[in-house]
Symmetry: C2
Subunit: 350 residues, 2 copies
């Protein structure tokens, strides 16, 4: 099934309003999911809508909650997410970081009592569109073992950084610090596919290609061996100690028992125009990106990509040609539409 | 040859003063080298002294230079390193970052016209000892190809972050974003050893175990595939666009032709006590570290380490038992001692 992006956005937004979200909250949340689909990050797209809505129905995800600054440290903010919708809380906090960075140069916010924030690039794009470097990280329910370990101690702990640049291609990192995002395993399980060896191990510590065996009792691996584990551990430390989030080991799951997740976010913005003319900064960034992209490729490689470049191309294609949803996801949306009184097929088919 | 740390420090300091450094500059520079040896990072220790001194004699490394703030953006500083000794410039800038972070919460400095800053943990320790998160990164002469590429576009672009914690073990990352540090290849070449396959490729792009073949015309690989390349690219962007350093591709080498390097540094400090009681922060960090260290290990693994933990143990052992130098390095120091009128053997042998 192929849908127009705006139709899918409109459907998702209406369902979220019907589920109790405010109009802007519903718009931001729905746009974040649809943008993920448009960028080819289906694992963070509308396939997750049902899980979020179930948590709202269960009363463990507070629609309408707004972030509250608990301690205002000028360039550092300690924020309580009040168990709100993760995407909405993160977006509101990033708006404050961008405003504060405009006044002070830098702003970093630690946010506690949060829930899954979806695709982190959504927030860093907000900063980058305002000519700032945006960054976002979160911890998440335990799924990944430390380097040399066999017990899940970390979430997939995503990291996003967007750096504006002139010339058409920006630096736009949004990655799990596990070797693969857990969402890719969830999608594979939902669609009945096996996964490549190396993504994770089963409960006994043996390599597995069965996403269910990895998700249920097994662990994922961090990217990049000891060095990638170090990046993942740093995110955990910041999300727990600076943001006062729950440790990944104690965090509630989106898919497990019905309780608030307690996720910690660290979000921030850097207004480089304080020390470098913004046009100069972005021109230099564009030139550096172009030089890397035009460097000699390894045998068999057609093109060198910036982080997020393929996603940006998919986004533009989806804008023109629509979003393809699998039958499983389309059926789920149809059923959610019935539950929330928003017809799916008639509203959305291209 | 085994030397007392203090003897090696005293010798190195005297040689540096004889080479024209001021007393505090010589102390900081010498301590950074000796600390690297003590931490087992021999590749960044006194084996590099000769190369630094040669550059001073060639007039391409400015002893006595002080960093100058070009643009004071409150929480962002644009600094000119005036081609000074990298370790000294970075230390002086970190001192300013810590002072400013104490006033503002966060301070990030971009520093241009710099030279190799040695072991980056030296500066981040300075921040951590003052109950702040310290971070440091630099770009460096081209040696590493992008993911999918075959041309050296990046340096080994090191990243260091230190997070204070109670309980004896801190988080103390100091890594090259290449799979291995170039210094390890330089040391292997100096000592006539081959290196494991996978560290890099030769000029034709073929995997090589000959450090000379990798260093001369070949390229290193980034750690962690596409994700590690993304971290390396981010460091390059920040060091070029925010710090206004030379791109790695245009940067002077410590070992190549006699010209200033033009390295860019990004240094910073975060005073977490602005939003979280420092004792609480460090207690939570210590508990999180302890929980990860005590988690179940994979078969065949004895212990899970924090980044920098092994280095800290080596440091304590070196403090008690002295520093072991290879014959090649000891001979080089003897010869440098003769050149600068500071006898090596009598001053240093344990």
């Amino acid at each position: 099934m192929i849908l127009q992006a705006n139709s899918l956005l409109s459907f998702t937004e209406k369902v979220c309003i019907s589920a109790g979200m405010g109009p802007r909250e519903a718009h931001v949340f729905a746009e974040s999911l649809v943008h993920a689909n448009m960028r080819g990050m289906d694992s963070h797209g509308v396939m997750r809508l049902g899980a979020y809505l179930r948590r709202i129905r269960e009363g463990v995800l507070a629609v309408g909650a707004e972030p509250e600054i608990i301690t205002d440290g000028d360039t550092l903010l300690s924020v309580d997410g009040h168990n709100g919708v993760g995407v909405w809380i993160a977006q509101r906090v990033m708006e404050q970081c961008v405003e504060r960075a405009g006044e002070k140069g830098v702003c970093i916010a630690g946010v506690k009592n949060c829930n899954h924030f979806g695709c982190a690039a959504y927030f860093t794009h907000f900063a980058a569109e305002r000519h700032m470097i945006g960054f976002a990280m979160a911890n998440s329910p335990k799924a990944v073992s430390p380097y040399g370990g066999a017990e899940a101690m970390f979430g997939t702990n995503p990291l996003a950084v967007t750096v504006p640049a002139k010339g058409g291609v920006i630096y736009d990192l949004d990655m799990a610090t596990s070797l693969v995002a857990q969402g890719k395993l969830i999608l594979a399980r939902k669609e009945g596919r096996s996964v490549p060896s190396g993504w994770g191990v089963d409960a006994e510590g043996n390599p597995s290609t069965d996403p269910a065996a990895i998700l249920d009792g097994g662990t994922l691996s961090a990217f990049g061996g000891a060095k990638g584990y170090a990046i993942m551990m740093l995110i955990e430390l910041l999300c727990v100690c600076l943001a006062q989030g729950m440790p990944s080991t104690a965090m509630g799951s989106m898919y497990g028992q019905a309780r608030p997740q307690g996720t910690g976010f660290v979000l921030g913005a850097v207004d480089y125009s304080r020390i470098v003319d913004a046009d100069t900064f972005e021109t230099m960034a564009g030139e550096l990106i172009a030089s890397v992209k035009s460097s000699r490729t390894a045998p068999g490689v057609e093109e060198i990509y910036m982080p997020g470049e393929l996603e940006a191309r998919r986004f533009e294609r989806a804008r023109r040609e629509g979003i393809e949803l699998s039958d499983v996801v389309a059926a789920e949306l149809t059923s959610l539409g019935e539950m929330y009184g928003v017809p799916f097929t008639s509203a959305c088919a291209l």
